[in-house]
Every structure is written in C-alpha cells, then in structure tokens.
Amino acid sequence: MSGFDTKYDMYPAGDVGVVEGEMNVPSRGVPAGDSMEFNTLDEPIKETFLRDLRAVGNKFYHVLIPREKTSLLKEWDLWGPLLLCTFMATVLQGSTERADNSNDGGPEFAEVFVLVWIGAAIVTINSKLLGGNISFFQSVCVLGYCLFPIALSLIICRVILFTTQNTFLFFLRLVISMIGFAWATFAATKFLGDSQPEGKKGLAVFPICLFYFILSWLVVSHSNV
C-alpha cells in the first residue's frame, strides 16, 4: 500500500506524459471474404437457410465424432436441441387409448419436451453451482446437441418396433439405446468436462449421466405401436 502511495505521489494526476499509440480494432483484421458474411440483406433466403442448416449439421457431426473440444462451445445455438427435442417428443408420446389397464403407456408430448429442457437447465445450473466456468446457454447447447446419439437410437428402435416383438428384439433395443446413452454421455463429458475445477468433475458428470440415462430409459420403454 505504501509503495503504491509513494508512486502515486510521484506522479500526480494530470501529468501523465504524452499518451501515444494506435487503437486497433481486432475484428477488422479478418480476410476480405468474410466481410461479405455480414451483408446478407440481399442474398436469397435459401442461402441463409442453408448456411444455418449447415452450421447445425456440422455440430451434429462433431457430436458423433467428438474430437475437437471447442467446436460446439464457440458458437452456441439452440436450433439443433429444438429439432432433436421436438422429434423425440413426437415419437415418444404415448397413445391415448387406455383400454386394457391403468398404465398410461408413455409420457405426453409436453412431458418429454419439458423433461428435456428442464433437465438440461438443471444439469447446467448444477455445473454452475459447482463452479464451472461455462455460460448457461453454451452448456444447454452442448447438452441438447449431445442428444443426437439417443435420437438415432430412437429411430433404430422405432424401426425395430414395426416387426413382431420377441425377447431377442427387446434386448436388441436395450443394447442399442444403451450404446446411445454411452455415446451421448461420452460426448457431453468430452465437451463439458474441462470447464469444471479439479476434483469436482465426477460431481458434474453424474447428473449428465442421469439425464441421458432417463432419456434412454424412455427410448427403451417406448413400446406401443
């Protein structure tokens, strides 16, 4: 403190000398081709649409092959999670006829939808509370995109369900959805694991596991044709 004060006394305010230098705006340094990126007012709507779709597809690809860690974290969007969540909720919803017994046969559309979003939000809040340095929507984006393997397993199970069922096919569905579960957990852990402080990684990964396990359980138990 005293060192600071003596310095402060030596250089009184107002006499700081001549300030020189250049003020660079870093974003001007991009190549010339990228400057067209921001001028999208007069491009056809098809191009805009396709570019966004390509970005979403690229993220799906990164979930399937989770090699580089930053690809999903850099630019988050919620289009992919919305697509996946809507798709899963549509397929998973139970039928309304309850003739044979009291069991309802499956969740409603809104229940799956809410389960996915609230679940992702709770897992994210958990990792924030544990002290992870990641923004809220980044984490929700990663958790949503990592549903992709589970959605794939849902498609395969749905195809299997069209044939007549027996025990072998049930175990096949079980194995497929467990592979989807393991894949999703692996990918999400790969993307989100580094944001946690040391010694708390297990605490952050466990809720992610639970979240994907519940969704995989919904996939396995979805059996009404």
Partner: protein, 283 residues
C-alpha cells in the same frame, strides 16, 4: 468469519502527515462493509449459530444476494471424495471418525448430495417400479404397458419427505431442548443442529434406498419385506447415531427417536407397497 485482523485495527497506528489518508480511509471502509455484510448474512438465516472461527483458508466473503446463483455456491462447494465419504458415513458410520457429523457436516453442509440423491432415487424407483410391474405381468395374458407417471408419485413422496421431515425435526429440536446449565448459555455452544445440516443428513440417509429399490424388483414377498426392514433400520439407526447428542438434550427423547425411525420405516414400506408389491389375491 471476519477475516480481517481486528487487533491490528484497534491498535494505535500513527499515520505520517505525508500520507494522504488514502490507506486509512480504505481500511475504515473495509471494516464497515465487513460488519455490514456479516450482519446481513446472519439475518438471512437466523437459525445459524455463531460458528467456531477456525477457517484458516479464509473462504471468500459470502456477501451475495439470496436470489443469485453465487449465494448457493457455498452449499455446492464439495469434492467428489467428500461426497463419497458422506454417502459411506450414512450407511457405515464406523468408517469415519466419531464426531464426523459435528465436525464436517455441520460445519460445511452441502446440498449437492441431498438433491442428487433424491433425484436419483426418484428415477430409480420409477424405473425399477416399471420393471417390477413388467415382471409381475409376464405370466399374464395382458399386454404390459409402461407407466410413466410413477415418476411424479415418487417425486412427490421423496420431496415431501426430504424437506418436511427435517423441518419438523428441526423445529422439534429447537423448541424442546432444555438448556442443561447456565454455562452453556454463556458460552453459546451449538446445541441444536442447523436446518441445512439436517437436510444434508436426511438427504444422504436416503442413499441406501437406491440399491434397495433395484433389489425390490425381485418379486418375492418376504424378501421385499426383509429389505424394507433392513434399509429402514440401518439408515434410521445411523440417523439416530449422528443426532444422538442433540436428541439427548430434548425433553421428548424417546418420542423423537421413535418418530424418526417410524417415518423412515413408513417411507420404505410405502415405497415397497405402492411401487413394487405383488398383490396376494390374484383374480
């Protein structure tokens, strides 16, 4: 709590005239805000007794608002090994030191364990309840369909149990404890456990039900009842074991003890009968 050296502040310190009273003013402000924050944080949870100040690591000041996420971060400041240790202590108390509850859980209660153990238990019961239902109907002619809404029933039961029972127990302990001497009032030793530490204890005591819920899927009636008795006795006994010093001070020691055990047994029996039990009278 106050990680400011009060002795140094109270001592006479002379400030040389060339000091432009900058440092002095900053220190006074620091003391002021510290006291203000302490009184604020104490008033937000009034049941907290004065902690024994032995925090050499000087945790960052918890001057966050009640509504912010950072306020709750102090309840999630645990490591994986600590959580594992607490789960073990809720089943096998001889593995940890005898005053583990007083030293560790009361001093640093966490909400991570209770919340995620409850959530895990809710979904374990829902999943294995469905499996049990499937195994029971495997011989019948009806086509089995799974019941998604077991989740909501299990969630209601567990959330009520984890939040309401510790609340009632905390209130009972607070208003039935007889102070057993004048000196205790003066020294202000912590007599009743805090509410958060009771939540923490109850949450961890549910952890034994997770493996038990998986075992309940075996459709043998006497085995299910045996598991109910075992789980309720083990985790109820551990609860009593940790709470014994506080319970002894209460006027209604026996009533409280039997209420704790009884609630635990009722919860286990309720789970088993509602989600897993094979009805005896087959049509």
């Amino acid at each position: 709590m106050a990680n400011i050296n009060t002795g140094e502040l109270l001592n006479f310190q002379d400030y040389s005239p060339e000091h432009n009273e900058r440092s002095a003013r900053i220190d006074v402000e620091a003391v002021h805000t510290n006291q203000y924050n302490n009184s604020m944080s104490n008033s937000s949870y009034t049941y907290e007794e004065p902690k024994i100040v032995e925090e050499p690591q000087s945790a960052p000041q918890t001057n966050h608002n009640f509504w912010t996420l950072e306020y709750y971060q102090k309840y999630f400041d645990v490591h994986t090994s600590e959580v594992v240790e607490r789960i073990i202590s809720s089943v096998l108390p001889q593995k940890v030191s005898r005053n583990y509850f007083d030293e560790r859980i009361k001093g640093k209660p966490d909400l991570y364990g209770p919340i995620w153990i409850s959530v895990t238990l809710i979904f374990t019961i829902a999943v294995s309840g469905n499996i049990a239902n499937y195994l029971q109907s495997i011989n019948k002619a009806v086509i089995w369909r799974y019941n998604y809404h077991l989740v909501s029933y299990a969630a209601t039961a567990i959330v009520c149990y984890v939040w309401l029972v510790p609340l009632a127990l905390w209130a009972a302990l607070k208003w039935t404890t007889v102070p057993d001497g004048q000196d205790e009032m003066e020294t202000q030793t912590p007599s009743t456990p805090t509410m958060i530490s009771l939540f923490c204890l109850y949450g961890y005591s549910l952890s034994i039900y997770i493996p038990v819920a998986i075992l309940w899927t075996i459709p043998i009636s006497w085995l299910q009842w045996l598991l109910v008795l075992m789980a309720a006795l083990v985790s109820g006994a551990v609860l009593i074991f940790w709470l014994l010093p506080a319970l002894k001070k209460s006027k209604y020691f026996l009533i409280l003890t039997s209420a704790i055990i009884g609630c635990h047994f009722l919860l286990a029996a309720g789970f088993m009968l509602y989600f897993f039990h094979v009805p005896d009278s087959q049509p």
